[in-house]
């Protein structure tokens, strides 16, 4: 059934289709509509789930951890400061091997206060061991909720699906939603391998010495790596049933491209238009949309970059003093590939500043005229006049 809805509601409908058992959430702009709609669904009985209205995001993740440990399908959603407050429990969900799914609406981090989009909230959680999937459209958001549970429950690891503040969260698009019955063909009910059960009194998370802790971390690393193939498989199975596919990376007009532009999130949509224009002018440029950030698909990135001459990466985030985070990851992936490709790192759109076709044009023109980067990072559109108010 096709409904016009904003990205936040696409998350709620996704959670409903996934028949989540327990939702624990705390309000934060711009994520709030996700849990508002879910609480309505729970109240009306449309969704048979317990909604725990916790007193903080830290407690939201702790409650999701508890629910998942009890063997229930657990879901939450947050943004920005909320995600940062959860940080400790993000690690807990991974160490406890719990397949929680969370939607995060990418929002800037304070101070100063700013509710608009950038990726520093989620990307600064890159080493906690969660899968991270970045979405471009509301349909993709809906579908990714289902992909996430499918993969997480196979790996016993949690997944974060990520959408841009406002550009997706509050933007209405047509979404083809399915009911739980239809979704069950893809996502069967959750059957936990181990859970809190008095008939089988296991102890979870006991004090563990170096002789065993090390292997537990090794297993997480190995299993998270399996997430690359499982995400591909989820996408294929989903396509067979419902005809929609995204891959873990999308290559758009990359045939014969000498310059590849890497994007994530809604900047991708803008970039598609610009790439079309450049292609129409006979320029050999292509677009690579990164969907899966963790586990990082090193082999796929290497394969894709091999045929190109130059790589440009747009980062709506900043790793202070070292550059954009996607660019760092792509550079790291290419190191050891056996070939060299210059990676141009561009910062744009932080704090929700608009990334327009002009921005993307500026980046492509820049990369076109340089053989290799002469700076490790380029900040696009910095206003060099003072931004402070002059009283």
């Amino acid at each position: 059934m096709k409904i016009v809805m904003e990205g936040n509601h696409a998350v709620s409908y996704g959670a409903k289709a996934a028949e989540v058992d327990v939702i624990a959430a705390y309000p934060i702009t711009p994520q709030t509509q996700i849990v508002e709609l879910l609480s309505e669904m729970c109240a009306s009985g449309e969704l048979n789930a317990k909604f725990i209205k916790v007193e903080s995001e830290h407690s939201a993740m702790a409650a999701a951890v508890g629910a998942s440990a009890a063997g229930a399908r657990a879901f939450t959603a947050t943004s920005s400061q909320g995600l940062l407050l959860m940080h400790e429990m993000l690690h807990w969900a991974v160490g406890a091997r719990l397949p929680i799914v969370m939607a995060n609406v990418n929002r800037s981090v304070g101070p100063p206060w700013n509710v608009w989009t950038d990726q520093n909230d989620t990307l600064s959680q890159r080493d906690v061991g969660w899968l991270q999937v970045y979405c471009e459209s509301n349909q993709e958001v809906f579908d990714t909720v289902l992909h996430s549970f499918w993969v997480s429950e196979k790996l016993s690891l949690p997944t974060m699906l990520i959408l841009d503040a406002f550009y997706l969260s509050h933007t209405s698009e047509i979404v083809d939603v399915m009911e739980a019955e239809e979704a069950r063909k893809f996502l069967p009910p959750f059957e936990p391998k181990q859970f809190l059960n008095p008939a089988d009194p296991l102890s979870f998370g006991n004090l563990t010495a170096p002789d065993a802790y090390y292997e537990l971390r090794y297993e997480i690393d190995q299993d998270l790596r399996r997430g690359i193939d499982l995400m591909k498989q989820a996408d294929k199975e989903f396509e067979k049933l419902y005809g929609r596919s995204y891959g873990i990376i999308e290559e758009y007009r990359t045939d014969g491209a000498e310059i590849l532009l890497f994007t994530s999130g809604t900047i991708t949509g803008t970039s598609r238009v610009v790439i079309d224009e450049w292609r129409d002018r006979g320029k050999k440029v292509g677009l690579v949309k990164m969907r899966l950030f963790r586990p990082f698909p090193v082999d796929d990135v290497r394969r894709i970059c091999r045929s190109a001459k130059k790589i440009a990466v747009i980062d709506r985030n900043i790793g202070f003093s070292i550059g954009g985070i996607w660019a760092q990851e792509i550079r790291a992936a290419l190191y050891g590939s056996g070939y060299y490709r210059p990676v141009f790192g561009y910062i744009a759109g932080i704090g929700g500043r608009d990334v327009t076709p002009d921005t993307v044009n500026e980046i492509l023109e820049h990369v076109e005229h340089l053989e290799k980067p002469d700076q490790d990072v380029y900040w696009i559109g910095v206003k060099h006049e003072p931004v402070h108010s002059t009283r």
Binding site: D21, A24, K50, A63, A64, A67, S68, A70, S203, N206
Partner: protein
């Protein structure tokens, strides 16, 4: 004082990692006698994170979920919801936290859960400091006590936080204090707690010989003295309104409790007199609350 027939079943095994004379060990043993096997324990960071034993061992015969320091209330909320959604409404979820995890770092999650009246039992076994990390003061440390962060030249200058009052203010169905010196009282209160729905709070007095600088064999005696000197009265509060206070058969002077403990060795008679006044004042207020609640119930 509540009474019961002591259950024979032992859900706690020997071989745990508690210190000699650890009061928290007795607390768990008696609690499990009252709770029975259909129980899930949620354990934030506390002495019991260690006492329970290292992987792959556990000293208790019920499932345990270890969780982060400040999350006993929130993790327990989630576990209860998860069990209910899986069709198990019978299993009792018990958050088992120390005084640091309750009075201090875990207070927010506990308050949130109590305000929502989440259906679980929250236990605070109180040894009056961060003992597991090596005896640092907590909000439960009494006035005048030595700890490694309140040295004898500058002992604790604030009185113990009244955690029971805080919980009572949430108007939860059941809030009670009990002590390892009175196993029957403790077991009966856990049995009672199990029969009530909603958030139930059980505050257990559990001396720590290591942190209090007392002889291990004095643990039970100290717990009894704490109640008899009115330093730790036993009471029950129902629905945040009705108080039932246990009156000790005889009341002893606070000095008898204080003078046998190394953590109070530096105190002068003037200091002890101040503690006595504080204990008397708290007792009077408690009796007054009981009277008021009885009068309200009669009306």
């Amino acid at each position: 004082m509540s009474q019961c027939i002591l259950p024979d079943d032992e859900l706690m095994s020997p071989g745990h990692l508690g210190c000699q004379g650890c009061g928290a060990g007795n607390a768990m043993r008696f609690a499990l006698k009252g709770l029975g096997p259909k129980t899930v324990i949620v354990m934030p960071a506390c002495c019991w994170s260690v006492i329970d034993g290292p992987f792959p061992h556990s000293a208790i015969g019920v499932p345990v979920f270890h969780t982060a320091f400040e999350t006993a209330g929130s993790t327990a909320s989630g576990i209860k919801a998860g069990l209910v959604m899986r069709g198990d409404s019978e299993t009792e979820v018990v958050a088992w936290a120390g005084d640091g995890g309750t009075f201090d770092i875990g207070l927010q999650a506990l308050s949130g859960a109590a305000e929502r009246n989440e259906d679980f039992i929250y236990v605070c076994y109180d040894n009056e400091a961060y003992m597991n990390t090596g005896i640092q003061r907590s909000g439960a440390t009494p006035l005048g006590a030595w700890t490694t962060t309140t040295p004898t030249k500058f002992p604790k200058e604030n009185p113990k936080k009244n955690i029971l009052d805080i919980l009572v203010a949430h108007r939860i169905p059941y809030a009670t204090t009990t002590s390892i010196a009175y196993p029957e009282d403790m077991i009966a209160k856990f049995q009672k707690a199990r029969s009530i729905r909603g958030t139930r709070f059980v505050h257990i007095f559990a001396p720590c010989p290591t942190g209090w600088k007392t002889a291990p064999e004095l643990t039970i005696e100290l717990a009894r003295l704490a109640t008899e000197t009115l330093m730790f009265p036993l009471l029950e509060v129902f629905d945040g309104e009705r108080y039932v206070v246990s009156k000790p058969r005889r009341i002893r002077p606070v000095a008898e409790y204080v003078k046998v403990q190394g953590r109070f060795r530096h105190l002068t008679d003037v200091d002890i007199e101040r503690m006595q006044k504080e204990a008397d004042r708290n007792w009077r207020r408690l009796l007054a609350k009981e009277q008021v609640s009885a009068a309200e119930a009669a009306n």
